[in-house]
Symmetry: C2
Subunit: 368 residues, 2 copies
């Protein structure tokens, strides 16, 4: 490791400056500036953070010297004192690439980002670290976070509490113990299923995103609410989810996931005449694959999405889907989080946003 500069307190500044121009440099610290300026660390600190408390000459001299020596305050050391990092996190249970493979997530982040902008914060995406989301949660240098894709009983939530980190959950089951933002998944799902049933479809494949539990019966949170909605609509039509024609599959919530699931869809017996995707991204993939296989959508296959991404109405055919206010969801969650971070209130709150069925061109009356 080449030659190191000894850290003797009384070290000559000239030595510092000399070595600073070399390859292996010791970072310039507040002490170096203080010494060089002939003032205390306090003064240097003031010069940067509360210049008003110093005579303007002193302040200026300190700042000048700092600039000369190329000094930049160490933000970590600062954080240790202030207990603020000026960043919030968004915790995701999958890796970053997967998370952003669904435009939904980018849109959510836009909403969160809007609030970050207002508050002067950065945004840290916190995925599992060496496979462990817990480890990542322990290590994250943040003032608070938004938790996505997890349930309220997740260990991550425990760690967040242990770390005393304020947090807001998105799409988790409402509970008195956590602050969270959701949408009316039940109603959105119910209406979309109802739409297909009204069009005469009886052979319907429901394509969910990966739940990591696999069993429809064990779904919780968003997935649970949506399936409750499907069941409700089916029931109104005298059907159940166990019916011969109703199939439930899972895939990654991305265009690629939709493409992948299409093949499995085509193996089903009876072959579905309609697909109910739990994410627009999946719907895109299904449509793309269907068209690649020469299938006409909606002529031979109706497809419904969920989300209403920005590009969903521009697809060919324009996608019938359930619109949820994604950006607002992120924004509201971030606003709640900022309240918590700033200690504005402590009572857990729950916000549920509305959804709306957007009937467009990817669904058609059966046989019509």
């Amino acid at each position: 490791m080449a030659r190191f500069v000894s850290k003797t307190p009384g070290q000559e500044l000239s030595t510092l400056v000399d070595t600073a121009t070399e390859q292996m440099q010791r970072r310039v610290t507040i002490n170096d500036i203080a010494k060089q300026a002939g003032v205390s660390k306090t003064a240097v600190s003031f010069a940067f953070n509360m210049p008003g408390r110093l005579s303007s000459e002193t302040a200026q001299r300190i700042l000048d010297i700092a600039r000369q020596l190329g000094y930049a305050p160490n933000p970590i050391a600062r954080s240790l004192n202030t207990r603020r990092t000026n960043a919030i996190g968004v915790i995701v249970p999958q890796d970053i690439s997967d998370a952003f493979s669904n435009p939904f997530f980018a849109q959510l982040v836009r909403g969160i980002g809007h609030v970050c902008n207002l508050e002067g914060m950065s945004l840290m995406v916190v995925p599992p670290m060496r496979g462990s989301l817990l480890e990542a949660t322990y290590a994250a240098l943040i003032d608070g976070c938004i938790v996505t894709g997890l349930e309220t009983d997740d260990e991550v939530v425990r760690v967040l509490r242990q770390r005393n980190l304020p947090f807001v959950m998105i799409d988790a089951d409402a509970s008195d113990h956590v602050t969270c933002v959701t949408v009316n998944d039940f109603e959105g799902a119910r209406q979309s299923m109802q739409h297909l049933l009204k069009l005469g479809h009886r052979d319907i494949a429901i394509v969910s995103f990966e739940s990591f539990s696999g069993k429809v019966e064990q779904y919780t949170g968003t997935l649970r609410h949506r399936f409750d909605g499907y069941r409700s609509a089916l029931k109104d039509a005298g059907l159940t989810i166990q019916n011969h024609g109703i199939h439930c599959l899972e895939t990654k919530c991305s265009l690629a996931g939709g493409v992948e699931v299409f093949n499995r869809l085509m193996q089903l017996v009876p072959r579905p005449t309609a697909v109910l995707a739990l994410g627009d991204a999946i719907a895109f993939g299904v449509i793309e694959a269907a068209q690649a296989h020469g299938l006409n959508v909606p002529g031979q296959l109706s497809v419904v999405g969920f989300d209403d991404l920005e590009s969903s109405h521009m697809m060919r055919p324009a996608l019938t889907t359930v619109r949820q206010p994604i950006k607002e969801k992120g924004q509201r969650a971030a606003e709640l989080l900022m309240d918590l971070v700033h200690g504005r209130f402590g009572l857990p709150r729950h916000i549920m946003l509305p959804v709306e069925l957007m009937v467009r061109k990817s669904t058609l009356r059966l046989g019509g």
Copy 2:
């Protein structure tokens, strides 16, 4: 500020535990655990970081007590010692919401995220803080960063050097002083312009994303290279960018930006028969607006994009565009950054990735 627990060193542990159950709690620290377990701080530290160096009973006892008291190591304090934050940043000159309004950025982040995943890092999006990107750069708790949308002579680069933070630039002018990743913007631009010219178009609007300089002559970096490419193709056809039919506009690089620019496009004299957008997102917006105004694309207006986003071939009409390997761009940049972070080498390197013109359905022979 309710009652505070005094911070007397000799404080009884029972007091701590009692107050820990109250509202205003002092965080449990390594000292509390050490005291309670009757060991030194060192031992506690080892229990968490190198359990092997402790007898398993001791380690277990410490961990148990820690869990009981709800102790979580303070990652900031840890970082101050280790000089690692386990996060890298991606610096963006606009706010987060704007950055992600272009799917290009999400795709870039996917590439970066892939490497983060491999390296066990989180990813911090660092936008300007109260309008100052410099301030944000000073404050970011990161081990290194990827810089987007900035030139090599930006002040941010100076601060990064001052902070001794390794960084990699994306789409900046190559220079011997910085490590960066670009694509062959010149060639992509040249080919796309050539394509339109071959189709007989002579009234062409070039829609650039915002440069914050405004003057085409003052463009640098990516924009500069692309315009050099346009000029080159024009020259081959005996034209110049100052020609009567050639117009240059700017707008935000997003769908909304494209929609916004469409109106301005329609005011131009002569009215363009083709649009060359510097981002697919802009192209989407232009097409959407054109269709909303009853214009046929490509019948009455040809549109070319740049990027080839995931959804670009699914649009109606499928977008003719210049494909650049966005995700790979992010990935390569992140890989270079990790090399720097881990001190694997110091020489600035420059990677230029190839592009490819994808001729699809949004362009048509003039009058054909």
